[in-house]
Structures are given as structure tokens and as C-alpha cells.
């Protein structure tokens, strides 16, 4: 028992309490606010676990962009009435927590056959690092050894935006007047260049340290959403080639790389060692662009963005 454990325990308890309150909040608005708080605490937990990549992504996407998305949705929904206290729902959750926690406790107390902590996973990755083209292990796994997974993640985003476009024709044009305060406009003017700078840094940094396409894309998207909400960015018309091109760019480059490495090289997404670094940087750059534009459209997209 060390002092180091104290903040971790506080975080664990806080995580459980906030998760519980978000699930069983009496109004929808409270639940949304608590969900955003939950995202922030999860980001802190990842940071404490030594995973800054995940902490950044969670803070930017889980807490930031999802929060904006929820609040925007809340404005269009009718005000929800307070929910009746239903103890059976609490009972089910309580049973689940007790079972899960006791299972976890048993797995800690009993001697486990294999240690599941990072050391075991580290060694094969560390051994293969020299021919990955990058020096950061997380990036090497995401964009080289398991590039297939990252490709599928980009496809998921592409499907999400396609799905969203299908939903829009039935929605009426929102007629709310654009009302922006001068303060918000000047704050956006200060913040967006900073976000651009940090996003670019994270993208570049990804090859040697925590960072990468998803984190950089999320930050850029945050900047775009701010610009879009304050009306400084005109609608991103879907019909424009630039928007459609940027949405597809990451996936297309990934696909081309996969086909080329298959037909000319060693196999699907098995990069030639000499060009691995350049390829990863190119894929990450275009993926960042795609992620930024897709997230912007998902969060701040209106009818005139997506259906014209």
C-alpha cells in the first residue's frame, strides 16, 4: 500500500460513481452532463495507466465531440420528464457489479497462468520494432502490424457518415437563426489556430511518441466544429469534390496500399521495409484529414452540409 495508490483508488471510485449516476440520472440532461464527466474521468484513468494515446483520444472524442453531439441532440428533443425510480433496474445493475467485481477479485487473488500485464505483449512488438518504420510502439501496432484493424476503423467512420446521410432527407430544415456572440467568435479565432498547431504536432509526433491520426483528426474536427457553429465556416456542401474526396481519402489510400502490397510485395498491408516510415506518414496524414472531416460532419453536420 503506497501513497501512489491513493489517486488511483479515488479515480476508480469516482469512475464507478459517475458511471452509475449517468446510467440512472433522473433527467436526460443530467445523464448527458454526467456522461461527459465520465469521459473526462476515463481519460484521466488512461493517463494514469500510462496510455496517453488513449487518454488524448478519449478526452477529444469521448468527452469533447460526443458532448457537443449530445447537447445538439438535446436541443432538438422535447424536455424529458423526471424518470420514476425503478428499483428493479438498479437491482440488475447491482447484481452485475457484484458479480463482475468479485470475478475480478478472484482473478487477482488466484495465481493466474499467464501474466496479462503489458510485459508479455511488449516483447514480440519490441523485437519487430526495427522493421516497422516508426519508433513508437503504439503507432507501429496500429499502422503496421495491425494496420488491418485501423483500416476497418476508418471504414466504420465512412459507414457512419453514409448512414447519417440516409437519415437527413426526412428532417426538416432547421430554421434557428444563427446567433453568435462576439466573445465566442474571438475565442474561436484564438483557439482554432492553436488546435491546428497541436493537431499537426500530434500527427507528426505519432511516429515517435504518443499521438497519431485519430487524436490529431479529433482535434482538427473540434476546431472545425467551433468554426461551423459560430458560422465562420460556410456549409461543407457534400456535392463539392473536396469534401467527398477528403472523406474518402484515408480509406482510399489504405485500400490502394493494400492492393499494391498484395500484387507487388509480400502480402496485404505488408509494407516494404525501406518505405514503411513514409507510407505510414502518408496514410496517417490522409487518415487525419478524413477523420477530421467525417467527425465534423457527424457532429455539426446539418442538412445543407450533407444533402446538397
Amino acid at each position: 500500500m503506497t501513497v501512489e495508490l491513493l489517486p488511483d483508488l479515488v479515480l476508480c471510485v469516482l469512475l464507478l460513481v459517475v458511471a452509475w449516476s449517468a446510467l440512472f440520472a433522473s433527467t436526460r440532461r443530467d445523464a448527458m452532463a454526467l456522461f461527459v464527466a465520465f469521459g473526462m474521468i476515463v481519460a484521466l484513468v488512461w493517463a494514469r495507466l500510462g496510455a496517453p494515446d488513449l487518454a488524448l483520444a478519449e478526452a477529444a472524442i469521448g468527452a469533447g465531440l460526443t458532448g457537443v453531439l449530445l447537447l445538439r441532440a438535446a436541443r432538438k428533443l422535447p424536455v424529458s420528464s423526471a424518470r420514476r425510480f425503478d428499483y428493479r433496474r438498479h437491482l440488475g445493475a447491482l447484481t452485475f457489479i457484484v458479480v463482475a467485481v468479485s470475478g475480478f477479485a478472484v482473478s487477482i487473488i488466484l495465481p493466474s497462468p499467464a501474466d496479462i500485464t503489458a510485459n508479455n505483449i511488449d516483447s514480440p512488438v519490441a523485437a519487430a520494432m526495427s522493421d516497422s518504420g516508426v519508433s513508437h510502439q503504439v503507432t507501429a501496432v496500429l499502422l503496421n502490424f495491425r494496420a488491418w484493424d485501423t483500416f476497418l476503423e476508418l471504414l466504420v467512420l465512412l459507414f457512419a457518415i453514409t448512414g447519417l446521410r440516409q437519415l437527413f432527407p426526412i428532417e426538416k430544415e432547421s430554421l434557428e437563426p444563427a446567433r453568435t456572440w462576439q466573445l465566442l467568435v474571438s475565442w474561436t479565432r484564438t483557439l482554432v489556430p492553436l488546435l491546428l498547431l497541436v493537431g499537426g504536432y500530434l500527427l507528426w509526433r505519432g511516429s515517435s511518441g504518443p499521438g497519431g491520426a485519430f487524436q490529431a483528426g479529433a482535434l482538427l474536427a473540434a476546431g472545425c466544429v467551433m468554426l461551423r457553429i459560430t458560422g465562420m465556416l460556410p456549409p461543407l456542401h457534400w456535392s463539392s469534390f473536396a469534401v467527398r474526396g477528403s472523406v474518402c481519402a484515408g480509406t482510399l489510400l489504405f485500400l490502394c496500399t493494400a492492393v499494391l502490397t498484395h500484387s507487388l510485395g509480400a502480402g496485404w498491408l505488408d509494407y516494404p521495409e525501406a518505405h514503411a516510415g513514409t507510407l505510414i506518414l502518408m496514410i496517417e496524414t490522409l487518415a487525419t484529414l478524413s477523420i477530421a472531416i467525417i467527425l465534423t460532419l457527424l457532429v455539426a453536420g446539418e442538412r445543407k452540409d450533407l444533402c446538397s
Binding site: 466573445l183 475565442w187 484564438t190 483557439l191 492553436l194
Partner: protein
């Protein structure tokens, strides 16, 4: 008393002072009656508390490089707290005014 312990005492005192501000801010948020008072309590004390905390951490870090990082982070946090407080207050005010008009 060595310079090391002096630095420790100074940084811990500053961080404790920061904590006190956070505590009063939380107390204000819980106990004050109306929206503006609560907002006032949270934004002011958090900014000041974070300032003390950042100063304490910068002294404890013992390197100018880290101290500069902490200072930049503090600048952004301070600005965003001030702007967010203003925006929330304005939104609430406009809502109340439009309710009065109708």
C-alpha cells in the same frame, strides 16, 4: 535547512493553498442559491486555485522547461474558464430576458 526542503515547503504550501480555493469553489457551487453566484464561485476560485497549483508544480519540477509548459497550460486553462463562464452567464441571461418578453 537545505534549499531542497525549502523548495518542497514552498511548493507544497502553494499547492495546499490551491486546494483550499478548489474546496471553497466546490462549496460555493453546492451552497449558493442562484445560477450566477454558483458560476461566479466556480470560475473565479478554479482559476485562482489552478494558478496556485500550477505555481507549486512549476517550483516542484525544478526545471525552467517544465515550468514554461505549465505556465502555457495555465494560460489556456485560465482563458477558457473565463470565456466559458461569460458564455454560460450570457446564455442564461438571454434565456431569462426572452422569458420575460413573452
Amino acid at each position: 535547512m537545505t534549499p531542497g526542503t525549502l523548495v518542497d515547503i514552498l511548493s507544497w504550501t502553494l499547492m495546499a493553498a490551491g486546494m483550499c480555493f478548489y474546496l471553497t469553489g466546490a462549496l460555493g457551487l453546492l451552497r449558493f442559491s442562484d445560477f450566477y453566484c454558483r458560476l461566479h464561485a466556480v470560475t473565479k476560485t478554479d482559476t485562482l486555485g489552478l494558478g496556485f497549483l500550477a505555481l507549486g508544480l512549476a517550483i516542484a519540477s525544478g526545471s525552467l522547461h517544465t515550468a514554461c509548459y505549465i505556465f502555457l497550460i495555465y494560460l489556456i486553462a485560465m482563458a477558457s474558464a473565463a470565456v466559458n463562464g461569460q458564455l454560460l452567464a450570457r446564455y442564461k441571461l438571454e434565456q431569462e430576458q426572452s422569458k420575460d418578453d413573452s
